[in-house]
């Protein structure tokens, strides 16, 4: 690596569009009247999807990172946006989930015709745009402070989403989430300050050249990592997640669980694998892995013990987040080019994407069930499968992906992760992974069993469920399953730009 001058690449403008296009949506939403906002969404969503797709194609064809130097001020003074393999993959997943969420939310968050502008629809659509913009900024940002702003954008979009229903519990959950996320951001910012103090730059690429293990860097790295962990809700920093994700409206929960927690995780990856690649010591990697393992066990066991469907899914998110953290012990060799770490790298991303799709689908399905029944108590779900077969199918498919049943993204991810544990000789993670799969099987079958039961009295639906919304959930579940045809080996695509 050399300090070759960073220059905008030919498709770099797409990166600016990816971040700014939803921002245009936000700004317009403030000035158009309520009913127009949803119409606006029907423009913003497809165009955003196209932008994400175009970026994906551009990066794949070029086979290297696409860069945009904002304002033509090269780092360290200025900021560059950079799209590598993982960022475009993440962008694409984000775009798909957001667009499907948009379809799903249609109807739930539509302005009633004729009446005055309503609160929830306006807020929802703006937050949807904001989450999109923030996530794109997060995956494209290559400057630690720019990432901070993007993180805050994400938090500020996520918090009101949690309490959109305005009930006391949800407000309480939102407050907890907010305060805890704020601790996280402040610690991250402190770390960034130390990095700047030590190296005079916040640009990730420059840091990877200048950085070396000295006390300031170590402390900064741990501050940033833990700050981000608080936002990612890794056990034991998960206090806010279950009420927040269970309390939000279904499309909100879908985005929160599928995407928002992944945003901060992505930044941790940036720090450890891009900014300070040779800093990740064995012990630190094991510590992160151990937290992941704890998350898997705690989250899965608690999911098994929940009585409400949405809480079960929320705890399942806690567990599934845990798998992501095995990337640190297993892919730590990535920097030094150890052959097998590539598998763990691929596995972790596969896990991230398949969980994103599956969990979004699951929350949507749970939302539909709750809407149809008027409650989401697992014990009383009997027979709903017959009334809502498509919803149930969506739940089942995404559930099976979580369990790791082939063919699904979850299976491929688990297979590759296990392979990596064997290859790296860290069998203890394999035990946890397998156990986690077992427990996941337990809670998924617990719910499926209830959904499929046919009690003598089939519950009456309190509200009709739109077929479109069911299909939206199903389409995401199918995405999660389709990831299973990803070849079971290290993927070159995810290595573009590294």
């Amino acid at each position: 690596m050399s300090t070759a001058s960073v220059a905008t690449t030919s498709s770099g403008y797409l990166l600016v569009l990816a971040v700014m296009w939803p921002v245009i949506g936000i700004l317009l939403s403030f000035v158009v009247s309520g009913r127009q906002i949803e119409r606006l969404a029907w423009i913003v969503l497809p165009v955003g999807l196209v932008i994400a797709g175009a970026t994906l194609i551009a990066v794949t064809q070029a086979g290297q990172s696409q860069i945009y130097v904002v304002g033509n001020w090269a780092p360290p003074l200025g900021i560059a946006l950079r799209a590598d393999g993982i960022s475009v993959a993440m962008m694409m997943a984000t775009a798909i989930v957001i667009c499907v969420t948009g379809v799903f939310a249609h109807g739930e968050f539509s302005q009633p015709p004729g009446g005055p502008e309503e609160r929830a629809p306006v807020v929802f659509w703006v937050l949807l745009f904001a989450i999109w913009s923030a996530l794109n900024a997060l995956v494209l940002g290559s400057d630690l402070f720019n990432l901070y702003v993007a993180l805050e954008l994400l938090t500020f979009a996520a918090v009101p989403l949690v309490c959109l229903k305005g009930k006391k519990e949800t407000v309480e959950a939102a407050l907890r989430y907010m305060l805890f996320a704020l601790i996280g951001s402040v610690l991250y910012l402190l770390g960034a300050a130390m990095i700047y103090g030590a190296y005079g730059t916040l640009d990730i690429r420059l840091l990877s050249e200048r950085g070396h293990a000295e006390p300031a860097t170590l402390i900064a790295a741990s501050l940033m990592t833990i700050g981000l962990l608080a936002k990612t809700a890794l056990v034991p920093l998960h206090l806010w997640l279950p009420p927040a994700h269970a309390g939000a409206p279904a499309p909100g929960s879908a985005m929160l669980s599928a995407l928002v927690v992944k945003g901060s995780f992505f930044v941790i990856i940036r720090i450890w694998f891009d900014a300070m690649p040779d800093l990740l010591s064995f012990r630190a990697a094991q510590l992160l892995g151990a937290l992941g393992a704890a998350a898997i066990l705690l989250g899965s066991v608690l999911a098994l013990r929940q009585q409400r469907l949405k809480l079960l899914i929320a705890y399942s998110t806690i567990a599934q987040i845990g798998y992501l953290f095995f990337v640190f012990p297993l892919a730590a060799g990535l920097a030094t080019g150890v052959a097998w770490s590539g598998i763990a790298w691929t596995a972790s991303w596969l896990q991230l994407f398949s969980h994103a799709f599956a969990k979004a689908a699951m929350f949507m399905a749970a939302g539909l069930i709750a809407e149809a029944l008027g409650h989401d108590r697992i014990a009383e779900l009997g027979g709903i499968g017959r009334k809502l077969p498509i919803t149930m199918l969506a739940f089942a498919l995404s559930g099976l992906s979580l369990v790791g049943v082939p063919p699904s993204g979850g299976f491929s991810a688990k297979w590759l992760l296990l392979l990596a544990t064997v290859m790296e000789g860290q069998w203890w993670w394999a035990v946890v992974i397998v156990l986690g799969g077992l427990l996941a099987g337990g809670y998924i079958f617990m719910v499926l069993g209830r959904l499929l039961a046919s009690p003598t009295e089939v519950p009456a639906l309190q509200a009709p469920v739109s077929r479109w919304r069911e299909c939206a959930a199903l389409s995401l579940a199918i995405c999660a399953v389709l990831l299973g045809i990803w070849p079971l080996q290290s993927s070159d695509f995810l290595f573009i730009g590294r």
């Binding site: 293990a213 170590l218 741990s222 833990i226 034991p236 392979l419």
Partner: protein, 542 residues
Amino acid sequence: MTAGTVLASSFIVPLFMLVAALGQRTRERLSDLLPFAPLPALLAALVVPDGTIVVLPRSLLGITLSLDKPGAMLLGAASLLWIAGGIYARQMLQDAARAVRFAIWWLTTLSGSLGVFIAADMIGFYFFYTLVSLAAYGLVAYDETAATRRASTIYVALALLGEAFLLMAFVLLAAATPGNSLLISDAVAALRSSPWRDITMLLIVLGFGLKIGLVPLHVWMPLTYSAAPIPAAAVLSGAAVKAGVIGLIRFLPFDVSLAGWSEVLMVLGFVSAFYGVAIGLAQTNPKAVLAYSSVSQMGLLAAVLGMGLGSGSRAALLPVAFYAVHHMLAKGGLFLALGAAAARRGSALLVLVPTVVLALALAGLPFTGGQLAKMAIKDPLGDGVASVLAQISAIGSALLMLHFLYLFRAGIAEAPADRPSAAAVVAWLMMVFAALALPWFLFPTLDGASRADAFTLQELWGAAWPILIGGLLAALLWRWRTRLPRIPEGDVLFIAERCAPTVSRLGAAFERADGVLRQWPIASMCVALLVVLTALALAMPA
């Protein structure tokens, strides 16, 4: 139509029927399709030449399919059983509200059950294995009573456990295989030099042992078969269990002599063979007796495989498959007989006679397929202790089957005459015929076997005396039948269930831990703590 297409269609057609069920019209007629779903598989078993290998496109997971002799044998027999079961099920479901659901689970289990016989790569095998294991849950849970709920819960828990063992085993196999090959043959070939050989073997034995009900992993079998409706019990006990047999056939490294593991398998096998008989005798539910008989029979097969593993040759595989085929057909026939009996109470004798033949065929009755099956495994068992034990287990089988017949007859008398059902009888007769006739067709395909051998006096006597002794013992037992202990289905399960409060306490402890961790001061303190810990971990080189 190439051989590959035929082969692939044996699992794609049932899956396609599932997809078609998304349409309202098809969904309502889904149960009518059940008898036809296994037809492609039957065709494949008949026409696809031995040794065909097909690699499916990426969009179908890139599964590799192949057909060899043991696979073809099992595939054909299984599809027959599935057809018979389908005929029965279609009739059973005619007016049931839960028909669609049952049909969906049926088709899923079916495609998995047939798929395992032809899968040649680990991912494909695992896929089919998962289908057959997990989807069977829906078949077991058909009647929604407390008993079926308990049975299906235990079933699915253990099935998941088996899946977990196998997943890990396959990963270890894949890790040891040079290149990126996922073919089972490559993986098994590389197992010898694998650094994780023993743990892989352990996981394979545990995983498949769970499926074929090796003691003490058999607890789910009696529960499940008792709880499932008759056609489901028939296909589960007949066809689905053979997924474990084919698994052992495919994944044990027969080309090399693995001494230690051969003994392990033999001990487990014979223990199961006798344990199944012993506990089976203490059962009062004919379905449970059949289940324990399966435990016993599969134990014997495991022992044979263990012998084969010790000898370092693949010679035992075809006999084992042959034995499994006979067991599949006979056991299926016996379960269906339970249904046929209910339908034909008026002419009980018509049902009883073939059932007696079928039941004793499992013990090796002369002139039945059972005799051929016993003959087939004679060679692999050798002349030593194993051979003697096998003979004794045949006595046990005879005894157990007589016990079953006693219960069966009593059951006919008591069974309520639901409705006359031609389909049940047709399905049953089909299996009786297949169980008695098919082995005679297949027998010559075994190496060095000819039908004529079966009619030598020595062989006939060899097959008959265990049954006679069994009959004598049964007569003795009849005297003391009231003194027999009554052991609940799933015997050692009560030990596990005694642990339930502990497990639930553990769960409660997790819940408490979560409650503590989710308090604000604790959680925010964890932030500070983790910062310190991470910094320390970073600062200290490993």
